[in-house]
């Protein structure tokens, strides 16, 4: 099968096999990292060029807490094949278990303040390259009859023995870190290097469009280093460990390395792949879903994704609705990030890796994450990694609505707030509303209310429920649906531009008949007969006390022809041009003591 080499490297480079080999790993990583969804699945967790040094880069890979370094050692050719050799380093996270396996000297360096800063430019620092080197990567490029091969060489264990032991001077006194004759370093280098090699090989399969056609694993007797006594540093044979070289070839056989004597596995297509490699990440060239997730930054597009807060009790049909929404967006080539507010098991795992979110699933149309840290830091990471068009924040509880809303208001530099959508199970809702404050809160703060499972409830009961819901929330859009089935344009309008409904006549205007908030959250509505003075309006809004959880309305100002839609959450408010045909001039205030606040506001704006 011919390789799609020209998408990886241009014609000019393809004619120069040595240059092509030298550029190969970077080209693979660059291309594999263009697409957020793909890069995540290939295992990449961020790359950074060593800008100051020559040809080095640092990268993080899935499931490894530290940072890998890759830098070019040398290049050469063997006839029509170019070869470039790279050193692989691994810089452990200062607090990870692997620090125990590196040499004492390396451990000391890993605990220094400027460690990670220096790691970012490790090619400038000899001590880093020397102390943390673990493996070697070969990149081979064949011009005629194009082929690419990658090979990883590393010891199973990289052991350094200190004949005299190692005593360390710590701020609290000397510590015998290594006993005489003990192991200064005992590093499972092969196991550490393999994840990077696997991600690179998977990227090669992906970029080239075909899986490798040849595999070869060979080994030789390992070495270990010993120092101290009278002899300085020397190497000696270590018969109980081996050095391993694993090579993969795309469009060519794996080139030989004469030092490796013992063949362990050899494979050429079309023979079946050896059992141990059946699940290798490079086995398939097929990573679906490259079309929809787009790294918009590469095009300089900084449009903010829209945020929908989706809430509803368990069993309300929230999940079904969400699945439909994602499907709908995927059909329009949109990409949705779903964030679950509750810290589930996966979220805790994320915390262990030091991240504020954990990805549970990625596919064509969406990525699902659970929180493991603060909402802001999780969203910042998710937005950066996946560049979604929508973020749906899924939450079952709205126990403290004021908190969540102001947290969300705080995110307005990253996200464009679109809606709080609440899904209700029409059959169970009446009881939930009667018994749970949380259920009432969810309704009061929604812009869009979905009465789901209406097929299971009698008409009379539905009307009763709607009346009750309207008492709690006079302005939200209320839709009756079943099986979570409703088109998002119906809910959110085309391009998320929607009317704001006038309050239903259930509620008398002028804030006189506030609903009796059983738990303090009330609604109050002010109707305006004449256009308002913009300044007085702004001042009135700034004077809103913290009890105001939401406010929204349609306002006409003296200085403008057209009405404007007003939205308020604590700490943030916005006026946007209203849709054509928008009528009315009113303001709804939601929160404790709403009637009094509304009255004060009405007086302040002189309405």
């Amino acid at each position: 099968m011919p390789l799609t080499l020209n998408t990886l490297l241009p014609p000019a480079l393809l004619d120069d096999p040595v240059q092509a080999a030298a550029e190969l790993p970077r080209a693979l990583m660059t291309r594999a990292n263009f697409i957020p969804g793909v890069r995540h699945r290939l295992g990449w967790r961020g790359v950074r060029d060593c800008a100051k040094g020559k040809g080095g880069l640092t990268v993080r890979v899935a499931d490894m807490r530290g940072v890998y370094g890759l830098h070019l050692l040398n290049t050469g050719d063997a006839g029509e094949t170019g070869l470039a050799t790279f050193a692989i380093s691994y810089f452990p996270a200062p607090d990870e278990e692997l620090v125990e396996s590196f040499s004492i000297q390396a451990g000391i360096v890993a605990q220094t303040e400027d460690y990670l800063g220096r790691v970012r430019e490790f090619t400038l620092h000899d001590d880093l390259r020397v102390l943390f080197g673990i493996a070697v990567l070969e990149a081979h490029f064949k011009s005629d009859d194009a082929g690419v091969a990658l090979a990883l060489t590393a010891p199973e264990q990289d052991t350094v023995v200190a004949i005299d032991g190692v005593t360390v001077q710590t701020p609290t006194g000397p510590v015998q870190a290594v006993d005489p004759g003990g192991q200064d370093q005992h590093l499972p280098a092969w196991d550490i290097a393999l994840p990077l090699f696997s991600a690179l090989a998977a990227s090669a399969s992906y970029c080239l469009g075909v899986p490798p056609q040849s595999l070869e694993r060979k080994s030789r007797e390992g070495m270990r280093r010993v120092y101290g006594g009278e002899s300085g540093l020397r190497s000696e044979g270590a018969p109980d460990v081996r050095d391993i070289r694993l090579g993969l070839g795309w469009g060519m056989s794996v080139p030989r390395n004469m030092d490796m004597h013992t063949t362990e596995v050899v494979w050429e297509a079309p023979a079946p792949l050896p059992e141990e490699y059946k699940d290798a990440p490079w086995r398939s060239a097929d990573i679906p879903g490259a079309a929809n997730s787009l790294d918009k930054r590469t095009m300089g597009i900084t449009d903010k994704p829209r945020l929908i807060v989706l809430t509803g009790f368990l069993g309300s049909g929230k999940t079904t609705f969400l699945a439909r929404f994602i499907e709908e967006q995927a059909a329009k080539n949109g990409f949705v990030a779903v964030v679950q507010n509750e810290i589930g098991k996966k979220g805790l795992d994320g915390k262990l890796l030091g991240q504020s979110y954990a990805v549970t699933e990625v596919d064509e149309g969406c990525v699902c994450c659970t929180l493991a840290g603060s909402l802001r830091s999780a969203l910042s990471g998710i937005l950066s990694e996946f560049q979604p068009d929508f973020v749906v924040l899924e939450t079952t509880g709205l126990a403290n609505p004021a908190n969540l809303l102001s947290e969300i208001a705080d995110l307005d530099d990253m996200l464009e707030f679109a809606s709080v959508t609440t899904v209700l199970d029409a059959a169970c809702a009446p009881r939930a509303l009667a018994e749970h404050e949380v259920a009432r809160n969810q309704i009061q703060l929604a812009d869009v209310l979905l009465l789901n499972k209406t097929d299971l409830v009698a008409e009379a009961d539905l009307i009763d429920l709607e009346t009750r819901v309207r008492q709690l929330n006079p302005t939200a859009d209320l839709h009756r649906i079943s099986h979570g089935d409703v088109h998002s344009t119906v809910l959110y309008g085309v391009n998320f531009r929607k009317f704001l409904k006038r309050p239903a006549p259930l509620l008398a205007p002028m804030g006189q008949h506030a609903t009796h908030g059983d738990d303090g959250i009330q609604n109050a509505i002010i109707e305006f007969d004449t256009p308002l003075n913009r300044e007085s309006f702004s001042e009135g809004i700034s004077a809103f006390p913290s009890e105001v959880l939401r406010a929204k309305g349609v306002v006409r100002f003296r200085d403008a022809e057209e009405p404007e839609v007003f939205q308020y959450v604590p700490g943030h408010h916005a006026l946007t041009p209203a849709e054509e045909g928008q009528d009315g001039c009113f303001l709804v205030i939601i929160g404790q003591d709403a009637p009094r606040i509304a009255e004060d506001f009405r007086v302040a704006v002189g309405a």
């Binding site: 263009f34 070019l72 451990g107 605990q111 990670l116 673990i134 005593t167 004469m258 930054r297 900084t302």
Partner: protein, 385 residues
């Protein structure tokens, strides 16, 4: 020593007598079939590129397209950022078959006979056959270099995308007359992207013999297009690395894969007397960090100072593994530019953050369809030196 004591607990702030040299002497290299490290860290090269008096950049157009949503929808509909740009069915290579089903050969066949002199007719055909032709704009800039003698020399960086839009912009800035009078010495292409390169016939209509500099890395379709557009002048392919042009001016080609199956970006460096380094970029896909560090390592510029920058700015081709560094605002601040004109793929939000951070951004006038004053927009000018 107790076996239970973790090294992480006591190594902070510790020191040992064992030197790095000792451990490193026989390290990872013993596993390489080619043992020596040939590439040691180089000293700064400090290549002389001469000096000039000033550089003036006129933004002919920075609006590569007019609606983000339309562009993103097109890219996604065609299969994403990994698809070959010539296959999108974007103007001018439309074959009427719809999004993602285009090809260079079928596209050019429709219009080749009309290039470069009958562009209006060509555009009529293109409009009928390609996807969203009205969304195409382009990126192009006029660069005027003042030599120490006071003599001024003109160059073009990129030409743009839509024949219609580019001709309009060229006429607006008088580029058409300059080309006809052969006042413009050469046309540099930053990279093969549709919005920088496909408007080539517009320039060739007025001066088919103009010298063209392209970065190494153009694909067959691109090389063929230059011929098919009726280019009669010299075509120079600049190899990766430094390329001196005139005293005080050099171009630099960065080897880098770019989205939509493009490779390599050529950026311009100027050494302005008393001021320092001035950079003019198309998209800076290589990233501002690599860009600035390369200048530092390779060329000699006045006072070792990064003075000015113009163009589309990106931090790097990658998502950093430490998200706090994925911030163009911080990265740009590291270099201390004294005069910044940004637009195009920088991102308006980013440009506004630069301004909010107090960076010396020269704002524009948001005319001729440029959207925001934070950008040095269409028709705006910036001078260095």
């Amino acid at each position: 020593m107790s076996g239970n004591m973790k090294r992480r607990d006591f190594l902070k702030g510790a020191a040992t007598g064992v030197g790095v040299g000792l451990l490193g002497a026989m390290g990872v290299y013993s596993y390489s079939p080619m043992r020596e490290e040939h590439f040691t860290q180089s000293e700064r090269k400090m290549t002389e590129i001469g000096v000039c008096k000033s550089v003036k950049v006129t933004n002919i157009s920075e609006t590569s397209w007019f609606d983000n949503g339309t562009l993103m929808g097109d890219i996604k509909g065609a299969g994403g950022l990994l698809v070959n740009q010539y296959d999108y069915n974007w103007p001018p290579f439309g074959n009427g078959k719809g999004l993602g089903k285009g090809s260079y050969d079928e596209g050019i066949a429709q219009i080749k006979h009309l290039l470069p002199n009958r562009l209006d007719e060509a555009w009529d055909i293109i409009e009928a056959n390609s996807v969203h032709p009205e969304n195409a704009g382009g990126y192009a800039a006029l660069v005027e270099v003042e030599e120490m003698s006071g003599n001024k020399r003109k160059f073009l960086l990129d030409v743009g995308w839509s024949y219609k839009w580019c001709d309009e912009c060229f006429k607006r800035e008088g580029i058409d007359k300059m080309l006809e009078n052969k006042e413009i010495e050469a046309l540099f292409f930053s990279h093969e992207h549709f919005d920088h390169f496909w408007g080539l016939p517009v320039a060739l209509k007025y001066d088919p013999e103009i010298t063209i500099y392209i970065p190494e890395g153009f694909y067959e379709e691109g090389l063929q297009y230059i011929k098919d557009c009726g280019h009669k002048g010299k075509l120079i392919t600049v190899k990766t690395g430094l390329n001196k042009v005139i005293p005080g001016m050099a171009s630099y080609v960065f080897a880098i894969p770019i989205i939509c199956r493009v490779y390599g970006e050529q950026s311009l460096y100027f050494n302005v007397a008393d001021k320092g380094l001035v950079s003019v970029t198309g998209c800076c896909h290589q990233g501002i960090i690599r860009f600035a560090e390369t200048a530092y390592n390779e060329i000699k510029y006045e006072n070792d100072k990064c003075h000015g920058i113009y163009g589309g700015l990106h931090i790097s081709p990658f998502d950093d593994w430490d998200p706090k560094y994925d911030d163009l605002v911080i990265s740009l601040g590291d270099y201390g530019f004294e005069r910044i004109g940004c637009n195009h793929c920088t991102g308006v939000l980013c440009a506004k953050k630069f301004i909010a951070a107090g960076y010396p951004v020269v704002e524009g006038t948001a005319r001729f369809r440029s959207k925001d004053k934070a950008y040095l927009g269409n028709g705006d000018v910036i001078t260095f030196g």
